[in-house]
């Protein structure tokens, strides 16, 4: 049996790779994928704990995380398409509409 904290180490690794990806990449889609990666890392921790603690709650939660991720993907990509339509690029540097 593989001890629990192996899984946790792997998910920590994946999570920090995702963070680095989000912080450093310019392309919106790649940032998006890195967010997906981070989410999955967290799901892995959830399942690992649910298995280790013997209760299903963890997995149910993963289930919900997935639905949220799907919804997010849909809306996020729609946004990117809309953004792409009027800016010809989805480079994060141009997205500064938040500033007054």
């Amino acid at each position: 049996m593989i001890p629990l904290h192996y899984y946790l180490v792997v998910s920590a690794l994946l999570f920090s790779i995702g963070t680095v990806g989000v912080l450093t990449r310019r392309n919106a889609i790649v940032i998006f994928m890195c967010v997906e990666l981070m989410l999955n890392a967290v799901n892995l921790t959830f399942v690992a704990f649910s298995n280790f603690l013997g209760s299903l709650d963890g997995q149910i939660f993963v289930f919900f995380v997935m639905t949220v991720a799907a919804a997010e993907a849909a809306v996020g990509l729609a946004l990117m398409i809309a953004f792409f339509k009027n800016r010809e690029s989805i480079d994060v540097e141009e997205m500064n509409l938040l500033k007054l």
Binding site: L13, S16, T19, M33
Partner: protein, 167 residues
């Protein structure tokens, strides 16, 4: 034997994760992300959660990644400068690594307690993982389940409106 298998899958997952953030072309990073998803799915199986593995593969790898690849193709994003200025990448990765160290530190500190919920591999085989999750979903977690359905509905409408040309 089993741990060896675990290490292999873990290595593949980490490497493909790194690939996602390093390669220039988004397509490559998309594919490597799919690879990571598969590794995570195998982890789920090893953690006696076969149904979750299936869901993972279907939802993530199947639906979301397809959607992403589709969007990449639609907007035919060519690989451009990729990373941002040296200054920000350095700062970003430093933050990431430092965060990792902190997480590992917490892991090392340990103290993972918690009661065993009384569920173990035998019961899963006996009743079937999917039935267990289904029962839990529709009894204990009925309300969140309904809310997520509304969430998905909202997401669909949002996506349609956003992506449509002017209505």
């Amino acid at each position: 034997m089993e741990t060896l298998f675990f290490f292999v899958v873990a290595a593949v997952a980490v490497i493909s994760g790194l690939l996602v953030i390093t390669c220039k072309n988004p397509i490559n990073s998309a594919l490597s992300l799919i690879m990571t998803f598969f590794c995570i799915a195998t982890f789920y199986v090893m953690l006696n959660a076969p149904f979750m593995a299936a869901i993972q593969v279907i939802v993530y790898a199947g639906a979301i990644m397809v959607l992403i690849v589709f969007v990449i193709m639609l907007l035919n994003i060519r690989s451009e400068a990729g990373r941002r200025g040296a200054h920000t990448t350095l700062f970003g990765s430093a933050l990431g690594i430092f965060g990792l160290i902190e997480l590992l530190y917490f892991l090392a500190k340990g103290g993972l307690t918690g009661s065993r919920g009384g569920l173990d591999a035998k019961i899963i085989e006996q009743f079937g993982h999917t039935e267990l999750i289904g029962r839990a979903l529709f009894t204990q977690f009925l309300l969140p389940f309904e809310i997520t359905s509304i969430l998905l509905l909202v997401a669909i409408i949002g996506a349609v409106i956003l992506a449509k040309k002017n209505i």
